[in-house]
């Protein structure tokens, strides 16, 4: 069957799936959804449909993630009138009511309704108008939460693999020009122009070349790549195939973290489907281009996100970085020219090749084109996975999309770029988010983790946290990183314990500077960023720890004590039950008290108290 005929068939299948008069239930079942209980919800729906004899009349499908993680478990139901309603916070016990309301009576079940997907409704907002959705532009996430990721017809039916056929029609050199024209830059963090990178690898002459998809999403606090792989694996694999075609590589690797079993499963399914349709193997669609894709599971080393370390790991060695040059484009995997791109970059590649460079370059700012996904988490009301045009303000992301800081607390900073990034203080809330602006304030775009920090988080403790991570993950090959992370962590620990000196602040700046300039790879070169940016913007917090022996945020255990305000305490006993060491005593309806000898400053009482009666000093 020709590609065009196969695609028509897929389009028909997609149309059937989208047909308004077919009853349908979509359950968001990416890792986040599953963790929130989506499989149990699906089971409950299946049982309820069975009881009513509706099993065959309803299409029930697991889809990926719409990105509204705060509202999991999410279920979209299409009733007889064709109206598609998105429900949030669904639990197994809701299955009967939801089916009764929408599938039987044809009414929206208002208690859980979040939005109608299309059209208008008097009582429920339209999906595209939700404050979390309106500022977003979904290119990389175009199919996530909408298609069945295990059904290649859905991907094909929505324009998938057209990018591949366009590439074959253009020829490799023109594909590289198209990438350059799109302005796409590496979404793994460094932001190197993708087309230029491909050009280097294309110009290397060798009997064998490789392309690698870096899916070793190691930044703690980042889950964009996982969601894309789980929700739309073909978008990434098509991008990898196009990259292989452009540089002349016949083998592609996907290096994926072992911690993402569902992503690996989805990739395996997708690769088998590609092979079945002749999108892998020799002479794909008569183009003369042959390609194979292999999956390699990472084994848990943050440094393997660095390209030369990742290649060492694929070769079966310790994942330690190599000096550059030679660059991977000249001598990479098994000593052959290799091009490596991140998941999000490749998912953008397939979209760009489908719709054109000019379309993509129409989004974003002059030097940062297109869109960027972010994993929005931390102290924010609406956690989730978002995709926004470059140049959007931090304020729009945090206040509009994220719904502001959790529990109405004061916004203090936002951490971007994970352990390689920095903390951007509240004063820059109107900053336009692109590669250049983030670098100007001392942070980086990074892979897209965005952690919101409120007044109750201590910036010295944040720096200590990141350094304990990088100190642990430093491979130890080069001295600046190995010793630098150890010294920084030791000093930060003494400061959070109230034993620090002001002299240490200057020493930390010097060590950070040396690490930046002298480390072998990106891990060491950026590991001091969390310290340097918090020193730059929050030196007063460091001084409070050192001089006043106080933690202003009330987070560093060695420097705080908890007390119960008898005027506010109602004697409800919530703190008493929450205390893990039985340090709280008191009669019912009488003010309680904390035994300071027993207290371990864990803060469980403060979290449990509904009357703000637990004070921290």
């Amino acid at each position: 069957m020709s590609f065009a005929a196969r695609q028509q068939q897929a389009e028909a299948a997609w149309q059937t799936f989208e047909q308004p008069n077919r009853l349908r239930i979509l359950v968001g079942s990416a890792t986040c959804g599953r963790a929130a209980g989506s499989l149990e919800v699906m089971q409950a729906f299946a049982e309820e449909l069975g009881k009513r004899g509706l099993t065959k009349a309803v299409d029930m499908v697991e889809v990926g993630c719409l990105g509204m993680c705060y509202a999991e478990v999410m279920v979209e139901i299409r009733g007889r009138d064709g109206k598609r309603v998105l429900y949030q916070g669904v639990e197994p016990r809701h299955a009967a009511a939801l089916i009764e309301a929408q599938l039987v009576s044809g009414e929206v079940y208002l208690p859980l309704a979040l939005a109608v997907m299309t059209g208008a409704d008097e009582a429920v907002p339209t999906f595209a108008d939700l404050p979390m959705i309106r500022p977003q532009v979904r290119i990389v996430l175009r199919n996530c939460g909408i298609i069945d990721p295990t059904n290649i017809d859905h991907y094909l039916g929505r324009g998938g693999y057209q990018g591949m056929t366009h590439a074959f029609a253009m020829g490799p050199d023109q594909v590289i020009e198209e990438m350059k024209a799109s302005g796409l830059r590496g979404r793994g963090g460094a932001g190197f122009p993708t087309g230029v990178k491909w050009g280097f690898a294309r110009n290397s002459v060798a009997d064998q070349k490789y392309v690698i998809c870096n899916a070793d999403e190691g930044d703690p606090g980042a889950f964009m790549d996982r969601s894309v792989l789980e929700g739309d694996p073909h978008a990434v694999l098509e991008g990898l195939l196009i990259a292989g075609y452009a540089i002349g590589a016949s083998i592609g690797y996907v290096y994926c973290r072992a911690e993402y079993p569902l992503a690996i499963e989805r990739l395996q399914t997708a690769i088998a489907q590609m092979r079945e349709l002749g999108f892998l193997g020799d002479d794909i669609l008569g183009s003369g281009f042959g390609f194979e894709i292999k999956i390699k599971k990472g084994a848990g080393a943050f440094v393997c996100g660095e390209e030369t370390s990742l290649m060492q790991s694929i070769e079966g060695k310790r994942g330690m970085p190599l000096s550059k040059p030679p660059f991977p484009a000249v001598s990479g995997l098994f000593g052959k020219p290799t091009n490596i791109n991140n998941v999000e970059t490749l998912a953008a590649v397939s979209a760009i090749m489908e719709k054109g460079a000019a379309w993509y370059a129409g989004y974003g700012t002059e030097k940062s084109r297109g869109t960027k996904t972010f994993a929005l988490a931390g102290k924010i009301t609406r956690t989730g996975l978002i995709e926004v045009p470059m140049g959007i303000s931090l304020r729009t992301i945090i206040d509009d999309i994220g719904g502001g800081v959790l529990d109405g607390k004061q916004f203090k900073a936002v951490q971007t770029g994970g352990p390689s990034g920095g903390c951007i203080p509240a004063q820059f809330i109107d900053l336009a988010v692109d590669y250049e602006r983030l670098a100007e304030v001392g942070s980086i775009m990074g892979s897209g983790g965005m952690i919101v920090i409120d007044e109750e988080s201590c910036m010295v403790d944040m720096a200590r946290y990141f350094l304990s991570f990088t100190e642990n993950e430093s491979c130890g090959k080069c001295v600046p990183c190995r010793m630098g992370t150890q010294h920084l962590l030791r000093m930060l620990t003494t400061i959070t314990e109230g034993r620090g000196t002001l002299e240490q602040l200057e020493i930390m700046r010097k060590i950070g500077d040396a690490m930046k300039n002298a480390s072998l790879c990106g891990l060491g070169q950026t590991a001091a960023n969390p310290v340097l940016t918090t020193l730059q913007y929050f030196e007063d917090e460091y001084r409070a720890h050192i001089v006043d022996k106080k933690c202003p945020a009330g987070a560093c255990r060695a420097l705080i004590r908890f007390d119960i305000d008898p005027a506010c305490c109602t004697g409800c006993g919530a703190c008493l039950r929450a205390c893990p060491v039985a340090a709280i005593s008191g009669e019912k309806k009488q003010p309680h008290a904390i035994d300071q000898e027993l207290c371990i400053q864990c803060g469980s009482c403060r979290q449990a108290c509904k009357f703000a009666a637990v004070l921290v000093d």
Partner: protein, 154 residues
């Protein structure tokens, strides 16, 4: 498969892999998946199969956080230490588990019931703080909920 002796299961696994070095990590992963840890015998067999020294195999295996050299407990508890979990209080969760099981991260209890591990990030940040017990993810944990979870498994 259950009737197979450990030795023949190991040989069965090895037979599916070539002798090239790039098979080392996938091979160790499969061995660990079947046996739940890497025993000295398993490491030696892998080394022999790939014609590497045991030293070399240990060098690689100890580099990566995934590999374990002691058997895990019946219930394997993993506490996420990602950034989102950290700012939402994962250290309290770890404390609570340590207190109720008497374990430090990396340890297995004497009776083999529990083992405890810290993990960098599960990527379920929106559900922070997260605990994984026997590969089931528990989100939005508190110290109290964690204690109950552990009690239920005892």
């Amino acid at each position: 498969m259950t009737q197979m002796s450990p030795r023949s299961l190991l040989e069965h696994i090895l037979a599916n892999y070539g002798r090239e070095r790039d098979n080392l990590i996938p091979l160790l992963q499969e061995v660990q998946e079947r046996f739940h840890y890497l025993s000295p015998e398993a490491v030696q067999a892998v080394a022999d199969h790939l014609e590497l020294s045991e030293n070399d195999v240990y060098g690689v295996a100890t580099f990566y956080a995934q590999f374990r050299f002691v058997p895990p407990g019946l219930h394997h508890i993993k506490v996420c230490e990602g950034t989102a979990c950290h700012v939402r209080g994962s250290d309290r969760i770890l404390d609570a588990i340590s207190r109720s099981t008497g374990l430090k991260p990396g340890q297995t209890s004497d009776d083999g019931t529990f083992s405890l591990e810290r993990v960098a990030c599960f990527g379920s940040c929106a559900l922070a703080p997260v605990v994984v017990v026997d590969d089931k993810v528990y989100g939005r944990m508190t110290a109290a909920k964690t204690n109950k979870l552990i009690e239920d498994k005892k």
